[in-house]
Symmetry: C2
Subunit: 289 residues, 2 copies
């Protein structure tokens, strides 16, 4: 039976979202064991408070009395909060006590903890965070990196291209086309980083060259490669479009995305995750084992 680790303390709504989310996921799946990382007393109290028909005995618990806050410096969290739900979960994952770990908590701390506890796949300089960009017609583009790597070198973008390509195949996109996000379509355009990256990417499978901001919602490419600064600003802008009449940008539907390039699967949920988003994050985790 596969074991899914869940950070119960993470996310802007904390256990008020994760408890019900975990219960919904339990009822929506079969043959899995959900392992809850967090303050067991709080979790138990919340289960009673909800006064749901929650059966606490279906879960396993790893009691963690410390917590990584959203604003905590990742390096501080890594060093001082080893008993937090995030770091404990990653430790369990590294030891094989769970098969996947998911959290809607502090992304930077999770990323740093994952690199320390889980490690990057050999040959990959930097793991990456991805996001699915909804193109319509149930098609998605894969944008990476979306914030884990604010400063990038060309070799990082090369890795993102490889990771994005593999992930696209994994989710069923045949022969995924990889584009380099740039400010012009011709070779030779862009800032120094993308100019140098272009030369590296030319040798990768299915590289189609530069794409522009206006191509993201179109069908020119399946994988959009960029530095984490650009990707994060784009992603957050996209998410803000939900309230402007474009509901398809609602990240709730998939709940979370894997960090690509790690030796074991870690799923990052959105900070503002609702109960449904937490449920979907858990189901995304199961698919990514």
């Amino acid at each position: 039976m596969q074991r899914i680790g869940i950070d119960m303390m993470g996310g802007d709504y904390g256990i008020t979202a994760t408890v019900v989310g975990a219960w919904l996921a339990y009822n929506d799946t079969e043959n899995i064991k959900l392992v809850l990382f967090g303050d067991e007393d709080y979790i138990t109290k919340e289960m009673k408070r909800v006064s749901y028909t929650i059966d606490r005995s279906v879960f396993e618990y790893v009691d963690c009395r410390k917590n990584v806050d959203t604003g905590d410096d990742p390096y501080y969290a890594l060093k001082e909060l080893q008993d937090s739900s995030i770091m404990k979960g990653l430790e369990y994952l590294s030891k094989g006590k769970i098969d996947v770990f998911c959290t809607a908590g502090n992304t930077g701390a999770t990323f740093l903890g994952a690199i320390k506890h889980i490690g990057a796949i050999e040959g990959i300089s930097r793991p990456a965070l991805i996001s699915l960009i909804p193109k319509g017609n149930n098609k998605f583009g894969i944008l990476l990196d979306v914030g884990a790597n604010a400063n990038c070198k060309p070799e990082n973008l090369l890795d993102f291209a490889k990771l994005g390509f593999e992930y696209a195949k994994k989710i069923g996109i045949e022969n995924p086309r990889v584009g380099l996000l740039n400010i012009g379509s011709e070779k030779g355009k862009g800032n120094t980083l993308v100019k140098e990256s272009f030369d590296l990417l030319e040798d990768t499978p299915n590289f189609i060259g530069n794409i522009e901001g206006g191509d993201l919602l179109g069908d020119k490419a399946d994988v959009y490669v960029c530095d984490g600064f650009t990707g994060n600003i784009l992603l957050k802008f996209c998410e803000s479009l939900v309230t402007k009449g474009l509901p398809r940008f609602d990240s709730e539907q998939y709940g979370g995305m894997p960090i690509l390039g790690l030796n074991k699967p870690v799923i990052i949920g959105h900070g503002k995750s609702s109960t449904v988003a937490i449920k979907n994050m858990i189901e995304t985790a199961i698919k990514n084992i």
Copy 2:
């Protein structure tokens, strides 16, 4: 009488858009002289072809037999295409023969030509291209730079902050708030460029700190400062939203935007300018004298 220079050859639709656009602008304004830069024979033929009630004698003409194509390298254009409509127009502007010049043609060539012929305001390291981000309720945010400066240093972003602040005041925003586009709201977040820029920006008037991609359509700031790479990708993504059900991102309504930080006004129109967009670009030019 104010003299408005128009590049008749620029834009993806060339004179098929500019001839009618200029005529519409002539009929929509008073007490201005429109000076048309381009191949006079072509322009005259197009006027006849349209078989409009166009009176060619209301315009002045500067016959230019060369042309800067969209894909032309700006340095090549600057050196080899001095007799093109863009370079001729900028030369006329520098000599005071026209009061403003507007073009929907090659942005990079116009930018480079403007720096050479017109020059940057003293104390400004790099002029900048701006875009208006529609927030709804007829409010706009000013995003800069949107593509003229792909590689930036902190002092460039400082200049963008100053230029954006002054422009915001000019278009009627009282006490404009300046935000630094970043991947987190706290100081200390971001890539090396924005971290270093933050320190410089702290001393500028009405600096409100970092803003994120999700704040662009909100009311946190009036001026959004970023490097030209990030800004261009965001801008083009925004423009693509028009066809996805968000008509407010249609740039046609203002037709063009000034290059900020030049000694004389140069207006850049969108490459895909329609006749109405050209008309609006000309009217924007008049407002910016």
